[in-house]
């Protein structure tokens, strides 16, 4: 007797559960109000402005950046994702040798998006980009040089 009772109880609670799913399913086929799945390539993905996608270096329209080559980001990075190749060049105006970056190398494949480099940068030269389309066929493509070719330090930015 309790065997049959169990079956009836099982069916009853199953129907109870179906009521919950049904109450969600049927109104949503008619008006897709609570549908939260986004058909990604067709619909744009929602990305928040603070999303940590990759580290980029900001350049103005004259191809100038704010990086002085101080290497604070390189030291702050926990896993060596940043390498700065720098040089000392003679500044013709002051006659002093100043540090200048040659390449700001960023290994996106190793970066853990911890924000420490951006926090450490004294001149706000680097920032987050929300780009997440980073898949490549070869991981060497994930190593990027952040300063654009031919770019130079913005006037007035000092260490």
């Amino acid at each position: 007797m309790s065997y049959i009772g169990d079956i009836i109880g099982g069916i009853k609670t199953l129907l109870n559960g179906m009521k919950v799913t049904g109450a969600y399913f049927f109104p949503n086929i008619i008006n897709r109000k609570y549908v939260i799945t986004r058909q990604y390539p067709d619909e744009p993905a929602i990305v928040f402005e603070r999303f940590k996608g990759e580290v980029v270096m900001w350049h103005n329209e004259n191809n100038e950046h704010r990086c002085t080559g101080c290497q604070a980001c390189e030291i702050a990075c926990p896993n060596g994702s940043i390498e700065i190749i720098w040089d000392r060049v003679l500044n013709p105006e002051t006659g002093k040798k100043v540090k200048q970056i040659d390449q700001h190398i960023y290994h996106l494949g190793m970066c853990t998006m911890c924000n420490l480099c951006i926090q450490a940068c004294p001149t706000n030269a680097i920032m987050w980009s929300t780009n997440f389309h980073n898949s490549t066929y070869d991981r060497s493509q994930l190593t990027k040089v952040l300063n654009r070719p031919g770019s130079k330090l913005m006037a007035g930015v000092e260490e």
Binding site: K12, T13, L14, I36, I46, F48, R50, F51, P78, M113
Partner: protein
Amino acid sequence: MEQVTLNTADLKSQEYFLNMGPQHPATHGVLRLILTLDGEVVKNIEPDLGYIHRSIEKQCEYEGYKQIIHLTDRMDYLSAHINNEAVALAIEQALEIEVPERVKVIRTIMGELTRIASHLLWWGVMGMDVGALTTFMYAFRDREMINDIMEETCGARLTMSYSTPGGVMFDLHPNFQKRVKEFIPHLRKVIPKYDELLTGNVIFQKRMKGVGYLSKEDAISLGASGPVARGSGVHSDIRKIKPYSALDKVDFKEIIYTEGDNLARYKVRMDEMLESLNIIEQLIDNIPDDGIQAKTKALIKLPKGEFLQRVETARGDLGVYIVSDGKKNPYRVKFRSPGFSNLNALIEMGKGHLIADLVAIMSTLDFVVPDIDR
């Protein structure tokens, strides 16, 4: 022709071994259990670890104190914020700095949101493990709201790296309060639906009730913590025992069930979600406004000594133990992770049950394998 007769008395039954994992979907990660079976009955369980060992503790010895934090994200990734907070608190304790009230409140709210997100994921997966596929969809729908809140403020959905020694990385996003206030009534509304869908189901109840019994004595002696211990009636909530951040200012209940079976652990987590909502509700309206960062040096050096900080993650008692010799990186860091000691409890619980029940028991333990295997 000779007749072959089978004499059943000659057939012997013998125990045999079976590998469950490392790629078994029900272990939720790369956990290998070596089962000793008699038919379908589990006689012994031997967990074999090391498949996802990344030597986080050793890596910490080479990192500065600020840099340790991002590694702890990758331990128990579902309680990432709480792990970050634990390390930050340990460092603050060593440096004897007082963080602003705002930071304390933010950390507590974020911690409770993380706990809810973790329990929601657990609920979805728990349903899947016992054969109710719908729960997963519902849980992920609601968890997405928390992920959005996290992404908006911390810039990442899971591995937030949000706490730093002395404060938090970013200030709250202007939308934060609004979004959290939308989320609280939403979850209050859907949890009764969850109960209707899964908790009340007779099939589910049969899988849960009386299965995987863990006595209070065993829970204590095996070092179980979190919902596993509280399901066996052990008073073990670090938030109550040793309140940290803003938890001493809020009023909440510690959820304890004494049955010690699967259903008790299930209920602890379900009730904890509501209790976490209570905590958030008490704090969300009056977040103090006194800065998000206490003064710390750019290069943090801890004084010589040993420092311990315990926090309650979604899985239980996480202990961060730092030994410092006064240099810029720690001499030794040890994480007492909740998953590891809860795994010991599995050995006790699983004995004498069927394999199918073992899957259900494992999901009530809510393993995150990278946490067991740092």
